[in-house]
């Protein structure tokens, strides 16, 4: 087993690529499963060797891609603690929060388990959990929208420069109203541990959705 720092082999970039690719698939699937958008805009695809639903709507796809393109530098530098896909009601109050907690080791131990195929297997388990999570969640009220919140290790203002990588895609600090959820129910979905990244997904669901 060899031990490397994050700078070696530009491992941070590799991890960021893997995670952003995964987050893109996960966001599409969450939006489908939780019926944030009409099901007609989604098409079945295959990723990590499992069927997933991906949006075919160009504007939505571009929005998700732009968002993740901005998040990537934060993950690369290990500055992002949590990426949350928040589903909000018409009044922009959160009703559900899919929280991806990310933890990257400062030293990377390269072993057979680090093989990307192994990481993909772990990510597949997350996708499978998301695709069945509607069974344990209550229905959302109609007219919901979503946003992506990024919780950073440092103060948000220190990360603003890193995240503003697309000129006309600005980022702002989220309002308290968008973050605070009354009496959330916490539903753990999946945890993975690999040599290059540890990730945990849980859902926070508002007790009273309507």
């Amino acid at each position: 087993m060899t031990t490397l720092t994050r700078q070696d082999l530009n491992f941070g970039q590799v991890v960021a690529d893997i995670l952003c690719e995964f987050l893109e698939v996960a966001i599409h699937l969450i939006l489908y499963v939780r019926e944030v958008y009409p099901s007609g805009i989604f098409q079945k695809r295959k990723k990590y060797n499992v069927p997933v639903q991906m949006s075919c709507h160009p504007e939505l796809n571009q929005y998700i891609q732009d968002t993740l393109h901005c998040v990537k530098p934060l993950i690369e530098k290990n500055d992002a603690e949590k990426v949350a896909v928040v589903i909000m009601d018409k009044e922009h109050h959160p009703v559900e929060r899919f929280v991806f907690e990310i933890s990257q080791p400062p030293l990377l131990s390269i072993s057979a388990d680090t093989l990307l195929s192994h990481v993909e297997q772990l990510l597949r388990a997350f996708i499978l959990k998301i695709s069945v999570c509607d069974a344990i969640l209550n229905n959302n009220p109609p007219g919901c929208s979503f946003t992506v919140l990024v919780h950073t290790r440092d103060a948000a203002t220190r990360n603003m420069e890193k995240v503003q990588v697309i000129k006309d895609f600005p980022w702002i600090v989220a309002d308290e109203q968008e973050v605070h959820m009354q009496e959330p129910r916490l539903i753990p979905l999946k945890t993975m541990t690999s040599d290059i990244v540890k990730m945990q997904l849980y859902v926070e669901e508002r007790a009273q959705k309507t």
Partner: protein
């Protein structure tokens, strides 16, 4: 636990004790793993999170699906100006008569047109777009009735109403000091910006200095009137039908 009755064949005493031992082992409760208590890793938010300032697009049922269909059918969608990177309207309007314009993809163009002129100068965007077609999504636009003169032409030449016919715009039709390229630009711009154009397809024949606009016979007069008015053409334009040549002029 309820009583368990063991039925066995009478035999040696040793055999019975062995059987009892085995039965007791089987009846032992399964070992249970106590799952670890789930705890978020970063339960305390030290800093407020950040989010994109722009909200995601609002996609309502039919309007969103229409938009999707347009994008799917022709990835080179031109007509509807993309609202990408703008905040979505509160109530997105229902699209009017959904009309799509497709243009010749670059990879289908002759190499000379894609790579540029022989002198090395790059070709302009308008030069690249050699052809386009317009179709309507919902059953086409309101048809205007054919004039008596055109009806006579149709019957005289035994034309089928859905047979394709071709309007030819030549250099002599341009007028006003314009050349064929400028008229082509006006035509291409016109189908995007003005109201729903009649369904047709067009291409520019640069080697002949002509623009050919194809449409169904039944719409020919309507298309011809549209072309003359929208492009302010001078002189007459000819309508040709394959195998019969020029059959009508306007």
């Amino acid at each position: 636990m309820e009583d368990v009755i063991l039925h066995y064949q009478p035999g040696s005493a040793a055999g019975l004790s062995c059987l009892l031992e085995r039965t007791e082992r089987l009846l032992e409760s399964f070992p249970c793993r106590t799952p670890p208590v789930f705890k978020p890793w970063f339960s305390v938010d030290r800093h407020p999170p950040i989010r994109p300032a722009r909200p995601p697009p609002v996609i309502t049922g039919p309007a969103g699906l229409n938009q999707l269909r347009e994008a799917e059918v022709h990835s080179r969608l031109v007509v509807s100006e993309s609202r990408h990177r703008q905040p979505p309207p509160e109530n997105p309007p229902e699209p009017e008569e959904a009309a799509c314009v497709s243009e010749t993809p670059k990879h289908l163009l002759p190499e000379t047109e894609v790579t540029g002129h022989k002198d090395g100068s790059s070709v302009t965007d308008s030069l690249l777009k050699r052809s386009w077609s317009v179709f309507t999504q919902r059953g086409g636009l309101q048809r205007e009735s054919m004039s008596g003169r055109f009806r006579h032409v149709v019957s005289a030449h035994r034309l089928h109403l859905h047979q394709r016919a071709k309007w030819v715009i030549g250099q002599h039709n341009c007028g006003g000091g314009r050349d064929i390229e400028q008229v082509w630009c006006s035509l291409s711009r016109g189908v995007r910006s003005s109201g729903p154009p009649p369904p047709c397809n067009a291409n520019i024949r640069r080697e002949r200095l002509e623009i050919w606009v194809f449409c169904d016979v039944v719409l020919s007069e309507q298309v011809g009137r549209y072309l003359k008015a929208a492009l302010r053409l001078s002189g007459g334009i000819d309508l040709s039908v394959h195998g019969r040549g020029s059959v009508f002029s306007m």
